[in-house]
């Protein structure tokens, strides 16, 4: 394991000129990310508001249409994402314990789980397209006996789609972190990017935890 003095000099490589010390840099980064996550919640908030309103207007539709969604795969994806949140947390823990190799391993697993999530998503979506469940005016599915079925699926595609975009962005961040961790940038002195990306990833996870019951588990 790296001795203290060398890790200190490594971390000072990433100390930016305008901060007084590493603590200030770390605190600022963390706070910035928290505030950004608030904006993300509001961003999704608009869609959640739309969901609430339409569900209040067309409760039967939401029950009916929900049956078209595959609860099994949705459930698998939920487990996959929760698992990835765990591995990201473990990556941070490894950094704190200065276990440099474990940082990379945990990040790699996180990345892989995110990819699994997206693959499952891909199959879910393509299956629906196949039977004519398209968003909005392209909707041509005959199987649901409700005139406004398109609205439910518009919301479904928008919300899971926006969430999917966030997963893809998260994958990009994970890949970047993985690359940096392989170059040995992170240790117990400096792991700010791992920590704040972790925060972002938890949010992505939490949003899915709301989306899953709201769309898949309506009975």
């Amino acid at each position: 394991m790296a001795n203290h003095s060398s890790s200190a000099s490594e971390s000072s490589r990433f100390m930016q000129h305008h901060f007084v010390d590493a603590d200030q840099q770390f605190d600022a980064a963390k706070m910035g990310m928290w505030i950004f996550l608030v904006t993300e919640i509001l961003f999704f908030g608009g869609l959640f508001a739309a969901y609430v309103i339409y569900r209040a207007w067309y409760p039967e539709l939401f029950t009916l249409a929900s049956e078209e969604l595959n609860t099994l795969w949705g459930g698998v994806n939920t487990v996959v994402l929760i698992g990835s949140s765990l591995t990201v947390a473990m990556a941070i823990k490894s950094a704190q314990l200065n276990q440099k190799k474990n940082i990379a391993i945990n990040l790699a697993i996180t990345l892989a789980l995110a990819a699994v999530f997206m693959v499952i998503k891909y199959f879910e979506w393509t299956h629906k397209f196949h039977i004519g469940i398209f968003p909005g005016e392209f909707y041509s599915f005959e199987g649901i006996d409700h005139p406004k079925a398109n609205i439910f699926f518009s919301l479904y595609y928008l919300m899971t789609g926006l969430h999917g975009i966030h997963v893809v962005i998260g994958m990009g961040l994970m890949a970047w972190l993985l690359w940096r961790s392989l170059k040995g940038h992170f240790d117990s002195e400096y792991y700010t990017p791992v920590e704040i990306t972790g925060l972002y990833w938890h949010l992505v996870d939490i949003i899915w935890i709301f989306l899953f019951p709201l769309f898949y588990l309506i009975d």
């Binding site: 605190d27 950004f36 904006t39 509001l42 908030g45 508001a49 309103i53 909005g136």
Partner: protein, 581 residues
């Protein structure tokens, strides 16, 4: 570092007098030069200047469109352009002025430059993010301009559905542009809040925070809470056009009033994004030019936050005639009246600060007086519009147009100009021609009133907004208004002329031409690359005018003493003890 050691350390440091080194050979503009250094700079001062240049450009673009609109209204029927062009012109005028000029004007341009200086910081918390915000702003602007050439838009700046989801033209492109600019705005907000929390110099406790910073803080809160909702709303409009998702389109089972709720949930708070930073500018200037401690510091600081907060509860006053529930209208109306309270508190505190001050009627203060008068009219007419019964009559008439121009142009543009004149010597190191500045201020004030006062009259008599043709009864009002708009334009051109001229011909500015106590004036002009050679320790607040200037001092601490953030209470106390010695 234990407390005893650190305090003795500070004590030693405190003894040094703060002396700005007026060495003009060594400052932020000449340490790195060349176009590339500008385009890739992470220096908040240069980024502020890039914003300044960009918003000035868009201000004149938007202004030109306004003049075309006003010229077209010279006669009741077609004067020189087609109705369709007219619709596009007023839409673009509104969108350009709001999204490309007003929203970024004070926060992104002046705020970027001044905020770290006032905090005693070397830069904002995330300098690279700051540069990214600027490029997002620029990218969004180009997309918006591209939209003009690829079909234009005629929906009005509000993009109301279902019209916006069905009309031709480049609405999708335009909303995408605004979406991108929105992200720029969000990121600036994130950056500023973090900067204010984490980057304050030792000794700069919350009760010494300059009111401009408080204003920017409240603005940033609104930016991060409201802008994402606008972003998603506009994304939904784009989806509506591309996929026909039917959320807002009644033909597909959607609800257009929902759009209005979403839109105004952003856009009412957004009008406060456009004025609250202006309030911050006013406080700084009032204190400096009356040489007095600001009256009711906390009242002014907290009323900005109160306005930000109440601003989120009143959006429904734009929808009194949209078919929303009567009860909702009544609640929104009541809440709207509440906004008047914190605003009034501010006005009274400013007046009280001026009272018995040794007032120096320099041009920044003159612009502030213009602000007072015009903003007062704008705010009071807002109360009128907030009354349901009156609004049913006045909604979508020229009365509304006059109202929001009084607050947005009379309030914010005046405050922006005041701030620009006030900080100009610090930004450019040059003094402008004071006589010209005063004359221009007068011309703008007169031109503004000639333009917009007749619109109150027209509006209350029933002239609807956004109409291409009108009945002859209104012609003389329209003509007066059009003449006024040319006078106003002339005033702005003059400002542009003497400010730009001062860069080449202006007198060299001293480091503190107004004799202010605020921190940004205690460093050399032009400021050095990283603002402070040493991290300052703040002993006196920014409005401490009770001591003569010679006694007023800022301590100097070696940078990197480990106390540079979050203004630990400890350090504050030490600073105060030391000043009492």
């Amino acid at each position: 570092m234990d407390t005893a050691e650190s305090s003795s350390n500070l004590k030693k440091i405190q003894v040094q007098r703060f002396k700005p080194d007026d060495n003009p050979d060594n400052h932020y503009l000449n340490e790195e030069t060349g176009l590339w250094s500008w385009l890739t700079t992470v220096d908040h001062k240069k980024i502020g200047i890039m914003y300044l240049a960009s918003i000035t450009f868009f201000f004149f673009v938007g202004g030109l469109m306004a003049l075309l609109v006003r010229t077209e209204l010279w006669t009741p029927a077609k004067t020189f352009i087609e109705a369709n062009t007219y619709n596009q012109l007023f839409t673009l005028h509104g969108a350009v002025m709001i999204f490309l000029f007003l929203v970024p004007s004070v926060p992104a341009a002046l705020g970027n430059f001044i905020l770290p200086l006032q905090l005693g910081a070397k830069d904002v918390a995330f300098p690279r993010l700051n540069l990214l915000s600027y490029y997002l702003y620029l990218a969004g602007s180009f997309i918006a301009i591209y939209a003009i050439f690829s079909g234009g838009i005629d929906t009005g700046w509000t993009f109301y559905t279902p019209y916006s989801s069905s009309t031709g033209g480049a609405v999708t492109t335009m909303t995408f542009g605004v979406f991108v600019i929105g992200f720029s705005s969000i990121l600036t907000g994130v950056n500023f809040i973090t900067t204010i929390h984490k980057m304050r110099a030792p000794g700069l406790s919350w009760d010494k925070l300059p009111l401009f910073c408080w204003g920017l803080y409240a603005t940033s809160v609104i930016q991060i809470l409201a802008t994402p909702v606008l972003a998603i709303t506009l994304a939904l409009v784009a989806m509506e056009r591309i996929l026909g998702i039917g959320i807002f389109d009644p033909a597909l089972g959607g609800d257009p009033v929902l759009y209005q709720h979403f839109f105004w949930f952003y856009s009412h708070p957004a009008v406060y994004i456009m004025i609250v930073p202006g309030f911050g500018v006013v406080s700084e200037i009032i204190s400096t030019f009356s040489k007095k401690h600001i009256f009711g510091y906390w009242a002014i600081a907290l009323s900005s936050l109160a306005i930000a907060f109440i601003g989120f509860l009143v959006w429904g006053h734009h929808m009194f005639v949209s078919g929303q529930a009567t009860l909702a209208s009544m609640v929104f109306s009541f809440l709207t009246f509440l906004v008047g309270i914190p605003t009034g508190i501010k006005m009274f505190n400013w007046t009280a600060t001026l009272y018995k001050g040794s007032i120096k009627l320099a041009s920044p203060l003159l612009y502030i007086f213009g602000f007072f008068f015009l903003f007062l009219v704008g705010g009071l007419t807002g109360i009128v519009l907030g009354s349901i019964a009156l609004d049913v009559h006045l909604h979508d008439t020229y009365y509304v147009v006059a109202h929001f121009h009084f607050v947005m142009v009379g309030g914010m543009v005046m405050a922006f100009l005041a701030g620009l004149h006030y900080w100009w010597p610090k930004i450019t190191g040059k003094m402008y021609n004071e006589t010209m500045a005063k004359i221009a201020c007068g011309i703008i004030f007169v031109g503004f009133n000639v333009t917009f006062l007749p619109q109150f009259v027209m509006g209350s008599q029933g002239m609807p907004r956004r109409y291409f043709n009108y009945i002859e009864q209104f012609q003389s009002f329209h003509q007066v208004s059009t003449i006024g708009s040319y006078i106003l334009g002339l005033g702005f051109l003059m400002v542009f002329y003497y400010l730009v001229k001062s860069i080449y011909r202006g007198e060299q500015a001293t480091s503190n031409p107004w004799g202010s106590r605020a921190l940004e004036w205690q460093i050399s002009t032009l400021p050095p690359l990283h603002n402070f050679h040493h991290t300052p320790v703040i002993v006196n607040g920014p409005y401490d005018y009770h001591k003569p200037m010679e006694e007023f001092q800022l301590g100097l601490a070696e940078s990197g003493n480990g106390h540079g953030h979050d203004a630990d209470l400890e350090v504050t106390k030490e600073g105060e003890d030391l000043s009492a010695e």
